[in-house]
């Protein structure tokens, strides 16, 4: 998939470009002069101790939190700080929350139906009927996340891990250009964790994906470029071997 910038038809250099981003809460710098560059189609893992600012970084990208200073650009030219959550979602950035968030009172199928790419206008939803193509899309997604036999179950009755998968499925079916996935393996068994890594690798074949995760086996399974965040800025970046050999990273992780 080759992305082009709609304005001038140049190939997109960076899908996401953050530079000099800072955000303080009551004087505490949760994000401190952060810079990040994600290429189109890239799969990137972000690791870092609790409180490093990983979730806050996602809040900034998705319009939930406005940074104090710094640039946040999507596809080279779009200034994300000027848009709200719904705008940004419709531009093609999907997000999974750290705490799994699915619509508990609806069925698995209905959750996917809601997330399905398409018009979000009020009249369209009032008179909406699924096309057979869209039904196929939901069926494929159910298969991808392994919930085909649970499609008519209420989401509240899913296990924790299944909710995480459903939420990833909801991201996938939105068909965004970039997926931000916050701690997808949280609260999962080892087998589920590996299954999740496989799922995200599958999705990353034709989407850019940024994954935040603590679990080192999981990050190893993703087999991608790793960014280490610490105290709101980038501490190290590179392959997992390279960053885990970095003395600064070892100090942050072991020095605690």
């Amino acid at each position: 998939m080759k992305l082009v910038n709609s304005a001038d038809q140049h190939p997109v250099q960076s899908l996401l470009y953050m530079s000099g981003v800072t955000k303080s809460f009551d004087g505490f710098k949760a994000i401190n002069n952060l810079s990040l560059d994600i290429a189109p189609g890239e799969l990137r893992a972000i690791i870092g101790p609790n409180g490093a600012g990983k979730s806050t970084m996602m809040d900034i990208i998705t319009g939930k939190t406005k940074p104090d200073t710094g640039d946040v650009k999507f596809k080279d030219t779009i200034d994300l700080t000027q848009h709200d959550e719904a705008d940004i979602a419709n531009m093609g950035i999907g997000r999974k929350f750290q705490k799994p968030t699915v619509i508990e009172s609806l069925t698995v199928w209905e959750n996917l139906d809601l997330a399905l790419a398409g018009n979000r206008g009020i009249w369209q939803t009032l008179f909406f009927t699924l096309s057979s193509k869209q039904k196929d899309k939901i069926a494929t997604t159910l298969e991808l996340i392994g919930l085909s036999d649970k499609q008519n179950d209420t989401a509240a009755n899913l296990s924790h891990g299944q909710k995480q998968w459903l939420e990833i499925g909801m991201l996938f079916i939105q068909d965004p250009q970039m997926l931000l996935v916050d701690e997808p393996a949280g609260g999962m068994t080892d087998a589920e964790t590996m299954e999740t890594a496989r799922l995200l690798k599958e999705i990353s074949k034709d989407h850019s994906v940024i994954v935040v995760e603590h679990d080192m086996d999981f990050v190893r399974a993703l087999d991608c470029r790793v960014t280490v965040l610490h105290e709101g800025s980038v501490l190290a970046e590179g392959s997992l071997e390279k960053v885990s050999a970095d003395p600064k990273v070892i100090e942050v992780y072991l020095g605690r």
């Binding site: 929350f97 619509i103 508990e104 979000r120 009020i122 009032l126 909801m170």
Partner: protein
Amino acid sequence: MTNNSMIQRLFTNDPMGRAVLGLVLALGIIFPLCNVLAPEGSFFHISTFTMTLLGKMLCFAILALALDLVWGYCGILSLGHGAFFALGGYAMGMYLMRQIGDRGVYGNPELPDFMVFLNWDALPWYWMGFDNFGFALLMVVLAPGLLAFVFGWLAFRSRVTGVYFSIITQALTFALMQMFFMNKFGFGGNNGLTDFKDILGFDIQSDATRSVLVFLAAVVLCIAYFVCRFIVSSKLGNVLVSIRDSESRMRFLGYRVEHYKLLVFTFSAVIAGIAGAIYVPLVGAANPSEFSPINSIGIVIWVALGGRGTLYGAIIGALVISYAKSFFTTSFPDLWLYILGGLFVVTTMYLPTGIAGKIEEYRERKNARSQTEFEAALNASTSEVNS
């Protein structure tokens, strides 16, 4: 899904809704007929008082339905829906005032009595046009609709939610009550609008006119129910429920939550206004106390007791409580507020899903039982075949 099945979905999976509406429609036909056709003293006669009571209860049921749509489905707890009901009622009341013409106490052909009493010499601009029934109907929809739209636009755009939203809706209805109580505001002050003579040329006191109004209330309730049901059984209904359950998830899925809330809030206010417009000619007055905050809280109790998020539950709640209120306020007037308070406590503690919740529970149990019986019968017959 074709257009046909869009209509079908109104009637499927909703046996309780059909039962409640069937009852409403039956009462709305039988009461007026028995009032007008059966002679007084006959076993079948229904008094004008009883028929009017039914009419009022049906108006309250429409109002409860309106609140259930915003609160039960979209999670917007409005504690000001009484204001929209009252506004619709005042719009109708203004038409009825203009219909009095020179038959008022002061015999002024242009000005309602209270304006003559205040020594006003001309009709204020905001009373213009209300001598026209069509214009009044338009205002029945526009007055509550516009207020809800502007108020909702400000609130939802600034993401005022939950208890904060509830409090400002209480403030809204309280402020309106203060204004309508003032003489110089131009809506009859303390006394409100009253002494109506006729509606569209028909005597407003006559049994025949009231019968028609009661029947109309039943029909409007049915129509409002089906429109609400059409909404909640569509994908839009799922969007509303999802906004209720996880507003931020919906934003990150690209839904403009504030637009959805604004639409459903405004629509609900319009339904409430229509209910008020049927209520006022039925009771013969538009009173400023309709704006009192306690009224709006009462609506919430109807819906909570009936069971929110089911539509038919709201109708049951409104009918049951307003009937109980009429019974107790005539027999034991001092007790009513305690009973209402008690009902609220009992509902929140023991009946969190309301009457409708209990009904659904019972139906599920029954279904499960007949399912096992069916399977047992099936097993028995297969084993017979095998042996």
